[in-house]
Symmetry: C2
Subunit: 178 residues, 2 copies
């Protein structure tokens, strides 16, 4: 199974994402087109306190016109190590500094139309300092234990895929520790 | 927390997605810009066999240039009920017809830059018929029990967010049943 690129047309080259349309040839010889968003990739931080609470953030997300619950995440700066980016984003968005951080899985968010890959990190041994997010971000941090968080998934208060995956990883990490 | 739209510029209007750039005003008066992909939304099908196996598909995804494991998913046709779309996509992509189907959660895939919302359905009482996917799709169906599937998440063989969320929903559904 493969799709060979015949022609690529760019429609947008932006600050974070690019948008292109690829003409492709399938194994069966048929020609089709694929709309593709190019994304630089991101780090996601599953931050667990001593009390086994997970660090969530609340922020307004323009694409969905809503304040939503998420776990901290952010883009990687050019030349920056993924782990450094994870620590930096956690500190910026929540004020928490992690003494321990370890890589978990990587996953695609929307492989049907975006190149985005996200890298999950588990952060522990947290110490609270001040938030220092970008001037154009408005973010509130909030701690929730996993039981409460799963209830918020069922009730529709948490409705973000990466956050739900992060909760699973938190749960598996805590199971492995106990 | 809110961001008021000052100006919207469209850069691409396509077959599945549109791409726009919004100039927004934050609560603090600061002006910023948001790159936004408009997506029509999708249905995701968590299909469980009698033997508690989950129906996966393997397909080549051009944005990530790889054949990957996913659970069935697809766009909703204009005017189509979500549940009808879920049944249709399951049949098209895997050949399975579900006698029972029920709505689970809805979630955003990438609320940072896309409007996409996906609606999970749990499909049971499956009967295998023939696949009937679109001419430009090349898809293989495969059954996996959840234990094997979780191992494939750890090993990096399954690396799709919606699929991992679907596995959690399958697990919770089976726990509720037993």
């Amino acid at each position: 199974m493969f799709e060979k690129t015949i022609k690529t047309t760019y429609y947008y080259k932006g600050r974070m994402i690019n948008m292109r349309d690829d003409e492709v040839e399938l194994d069966n010889g048929k020609v089709s087109r694929r709309e593709i968003v190019e994304h630089p990739g991101a780090v996601i931080i599953v931050a667990l306190t001593e009390n086994k609470e997970l660090v969530f953030i609340k922020q307004f997300r323009k694409p969905v016109e809503k304040v939503i619950f998420e776990i901290p995440a952010g883009l990687v700066n050019k030349g920056e190590e993924l782990e450094t980016a994870a620590k930096r984003e956690l500190k910026e968005e929540t004020g928490y500094v992690a003494a321990k951080i370890q890589k978990s899985i990587s996953a695609y968010t929307t492989p049907g139309y975006s190149t985005e890959i996200i890298h999950y990190y588990i952060a522990t041994d947290l110490k609270k300092e001040l938030q220092s997010f970008d001037e154009d971000e408005q973010i509130e941090a909030e701690l929730l234990d996993l039981k409460t968080a799963w209830k918020k998934v069922s009730s529709g208060e948490i409705m973000d895929n990466k956050t739900i995956v992060g909760m699973v990883l938190a749960e598996k990490f805590l199971q492995g520790e106990s």
